[in-house]
């Protein structure tokens, strides 16, 4: 007699439970994959925001990155959201909110990790730009489950070359009157002291264009041009001259020019100044002039250009 045995209900139920567990884990993997995809999407978006903002701030350059109004200031924070990126960014927003903020702070190359390994030859001031893009992950019920942040960092070093320019124009009668050359103490002689010239500053009405403040030592090549006119009713003598000189912080630098008034109404000079020491306070460039003789001499225009190269 053959004994035939089938499956009991218990065995079938056990099999069903096992299959259910497998199905549940597959569905969990599918749902997990969905959220992973969303998270990757959000991270990519945050990276885009951070990258755009970093590039935007790096493009400003050292001088326009304001850490604070005072040079000794430590940090300035700029902030915004996705609307600051581009119209496409705005139109593709989902229910995740992104915000960004940028810290700009003062630093120096000696503070950077690379300085300890390579040895920094010179301490160059720099601006640290640190960008954060923040967002919150939400679950299926739209509840915030996690706050996330992407951080990017870069350094804007102090530039090696700076150009400083300034000019002034004095065409009106009132300005002309104000910018008349002072008369020297008679005709020039080689034994003159400084007081014999009666120097007068021509750049003082436009001090904003001749002020500088460099946080590292510089070498200057300083060029200035003066266009002058004189009283045609009282023409100067052929040997009447105009004197000009350049000063930094009130100290004369380079040569004094001496130019005949009648034959040369355009005066220029180039002055090289080495080792302008670093400074955290404003320093001034000034041009002074004086003239011989009784003819009134007026300043029509001047310009000053400075090529400042880092002193190494």
């Amino acid at each position: 007699m053959r004994k035939t045995k089938g499956l009991s209900l218990l065995e079938i139920l056990v099999a069903i439970i096992i299959v259910s567990i497998i199905a549940a884990s597959v569905s969990a993997a599918v749902i997990g994959g969905y959220y992973m995809l969303k998270q990757a999407e959000h991270k990519s978006r945050a990276m885009s925001i951070a990258h755009v903002k970093l590039q935007e701030f790096l493009a400003k350059g050292y001088s326009n990155l304001t850490a604070n109004k005072d040079y000794h200031g430590t940090e300035k924070v700029y902030s915004g959201n996705e609307t600051d990126i581009s119209p496409i960014f705005e139109t593709t927003r989902d229910n995740t909110e992104f915000s960004w903020y940028v810290n700009v702070s003062n630093g120096s190359t000696n503070d950077l990790p690379i300085a300890s390994t390579t040895g920094s030859a010179i301490n160059i001031p720099c601006k640290y730009v640190e960008v954060f893009a923040n967002y919150t992950e939400k679950n299926i019920k739209n509840k915030i489950v996690d706050s996330k942040s992407v951080r990017l960092f870069n350094v804007v070093p102090y530039p090696q070359i700076h150009v400083l320019t300034g000019q002034g124009q004095f065409f009106t009668a009132a300005l002309k009157k104000k910018h008349k050359a002072p008369k020297t103490n008679g005709k020039y002689s080689s034994g003159w002291s400084d007081s014999d010239y009666h120097w007068k500053n021509i750049t003082s009405p436009a001090t904003n264009v001749t002020v500088f403040r460099y946080p590292v030592a510089k070498n200057f090549v300083l060029m200035y041009n003066l266009a002058i006119s004189y009283d045609t009713d009282n023409t100067p003598l052929a040997d009447d001259t105009v004197f000009t000189r350049c000063l930094i912080d009130g100290h004369p630098k380079g040569l004094v020019t001496r130019t005949p008034i009648e034959s040369q109404i355009f005066i220029n000079n180039i002055v090289e100044v080495s080792d302008i020491h670093k400074s955290n306070v404003n320093r001034t460039i000034s041009i002074e002039w004086a003239k011989e003789g009784d003819t009134d001499v007026y300043l029509r225009e001047f310009d000053v250009s400075v090529l400042a190269v880092e002193n190494r």
């Binding site: 994959g33 969905y34 755009v52 593709t92």
Partner: protein
């Protein structure tokens, strides 16, 4: 003879339950398959957008002149035409004369880079319906603009994911300002 097996009712219950489970498994496997397809599509879209942005961030900065006309300092443009160096490893400031154009081809819908009006390179395939915007914002530096590329990942909608894939990049021009074409 005693034969022990399942009753008809037990069999029916078992068939019903396993039927539900197999249907669920089938749907899950279809879903998983779709998810893989979406992963692949999104990867392709991201790669192509990333490649296009990388190309722009290498080619645009040494531009010597921007030929795309624009009237104000705040603008959005969908193409950029400029002159730049032929060889990106041999840059001479202001002297690049090779004409480059980033724009959507109206026929193929692809984002293309056209060089000197004849050589064309597809940066983002037309099937992804790419859109490109060059944005200049007020109060940003005159030599800076933002490029945003959006592409369509049509399969993502099947899973309730956003169909648009978007990436942006900031570009700083070295020698010229974008608000002053000349």
């Amino acid at each position: 003879m005693k034969i022990k097996g399942v009753t008809f009712l037990e069999l029916l219950i078992a068939v019903a339950i396993s039927g539900v489970i197999f249907i669920a498994l089938f749907h899950l496997s279809v879903l998983a398959g779709k998810q893989i397809n979406i992963y692949i599509e999104r990867y392709n879209v991201y790669s192509q957008i990333g490649y296009a942005l990388e190309d722009m961030s290498a080619r645009c900065p040494p531009a010597s002149k921007i030929l795309t006309p624009f009237g104000s300092d705040v603008f959005n443009r969908h193409s950029l035409v400029f002159l730049g160096p032929e060889n990106l490893r041999d840059i001479k400031p202001y002297r690049g004369t090779t004409k480059y154009k980033y724009a959507i081809n109206t026929d193929t819908k692809a984002l293309e880079l056209t060089t000197n009006d004849d050589k064309t390179e597809v940066l983002v395939d037309g099937k992804y319906r790419p859109e490109i915007t060059f944005t200049r914002k007020a109060n940003t530096d005159a030599n800076f603009l933002i490029v945003t590329i959006k592409a369509l990942c049509s399969k993502a909608g099947q899973l309730g994911l956003p169909e648009d894939v978007v990436k942006a990049e900031g570009i700083k021009f070295w020698f010229i300002d974008v608000v002053r074409p000349d």
